[in-house]
Symmetry: C2
Subunit: 233 residues, 2 copies
DNA sequence: AAAGGCGAGTGACTCTGGTCACATGCGCCG
DNA sequence: CGGCGCATGTGACCAGAGTCACTCGCCTTT
């Protein structure tokens, strides 16, 4: 696949750029495909490209000194990662790995940085992204403080529900739900513990499996009650 | 106390501003004193001021849904907090509370935002701050993944050592060390557990108390070994 | 069809870290 | 100087989560 202006315009962030800057980036950008489990960005490295996800699904993870995996966030098509270095040219804070086979567009860091400095809306948008990321990290951190395990899992599930579904509080659905293992590493739990919580939730009909790629949530209000602790498993 | 240009120039961030902008901010800014345990910024609120710490010590904390406290980071004199809203006018992500009696300079959010938009170096510096914050949050998160408790405490201590002291790896010192309770909430532990780890560390002469405001670390290399898991307690 | 990998489900055992309930020590302030 | 508040120190107890060692079912690959 070859990089075209249309391809770059797929990304909301790059749409903010004037046509001339966009064209300049097209020249320098490349496309790459990744298989499941591949490493897209390396923690601790000075990456020379910003990663735009076109297709597939990525995850930000970290590893503790003793080799244990720590889940941080998911990346969906249209999202960016590795953009932090645009601000401080620092090292990549976490690993980005592939959950489902991915197509990535690489835009060289320095080119994008140059374009950004001449495009205030882009700076502003990226600033908002970082701000959002900090909020998300803070929230995730507060999840880990919860002593009740089941509550932790329910909160995480609640976070995965689309905003507009939360509004009317009836049933919801999580597309491409994370595996038990993936939830476990995000919540500092063992995979078995997550499985056991899911078993209980299924008995209460709070969650229902619907093939591998969908998780039904028949009663959002019940899920919410477990999540905020007003009800216990 | 009254706000003067000299006072604002105490803060590295504001020193980047041209004199004219600084003068405009002086008019709008105020000073406030806070007692220990006071709440300076409220999570979830749209704060109308950015907080510059002149004196004392603050901490960013969050609370889980069940009321448990979660420690996030410390704020030292010269630092800023509540600056995230400059980028997206969003709500404050965490509470900022007072650890030791503090003097705070309030700069109205919108005034600073206006000044920032006309001063690229300030945008750049703030962007670097956010980036740094994300790195710090990610690192802190990875600490929580460690199954070995003592290691977690040692890593946290290691993070509190000054960079230049880490370099020669001899003895180090932590000024104004956090209390056991404060360490506990940062690491998702109980206060008693932290005390017990400290007891063991003191027996090994890895840490030594030196009054309330100093913590001696006679052997940084040993601390490092415990922190990276190459040695176990 | 066989084989292999992977996600999920389950039981038994272990043991760590939270909780509770104290004691101690220190500094501050009226 | 006495008393209070706060940080620290310590032991006993035990619930709850991790670990291990499986099985089962569903895919993709050979």
């Amino acid at each position: 696949m070859v990089v075209t202006p249309e391809l770059l315009s797929f990304f909301p962030l790059l749409k903010l750029l004037p046509a001339s800057s966009l064209l300049a980036l097209v020249q320098a950008s490349t496309v790459e495909k990744f298989a499941r489990r591949a490493v897209v960005l390396n923690a601790g490295q000075h990456e020379h490209n910003v990663c735009f996800l076109f297709e597939g699904r990525l995850q930000g993870v970290d590893f503790t000194v003793d080799g244990r995996e720590v889940g941080l966030f998911f990346v969906e098509p249209g999202d960016v990662c590795g953009e932090i270095a645009l601000f401080d040219r620092g090292v990549q804070p976490e690993y980005i790995i592939v959950l489902s086979p991915a197509v990535v567009v690489w835009v060289p860091l320095e080119n994008l940085r140059a374009a950004m400095l001449e495009c205030p809306p882009l700076v502003s948008n990226l600033g908002m992204r970082l701000a959002q990321r900090i909020r998300q990290l803070t929230l995730q951190r507060s999840l880990l403080g919860m002593p009740n395990i089941a509550q932790r899992v329910c909160c995480q599930l609640w976070l995965l529900v689309e905003e507009h579904e939360k509004a009317h509080m009836k049933e919801g659905v999580i597309k491409n739900p994370p595996t038990h293992m993936e939830i476990a590493i995000m919540l500092n739990l063992s995979r078995e513990t997550v499985t056991r919580v899911f078993q209980t939730l299924q008995q209460q009909d709070v969650v229902r499996r619907d093939g591998a790629s969908r998780l039904q949530l028949p009663s959002l209000s019940l899920l919410k009650a477990y999540a905020d602790g007003s009800r216990e498993l």
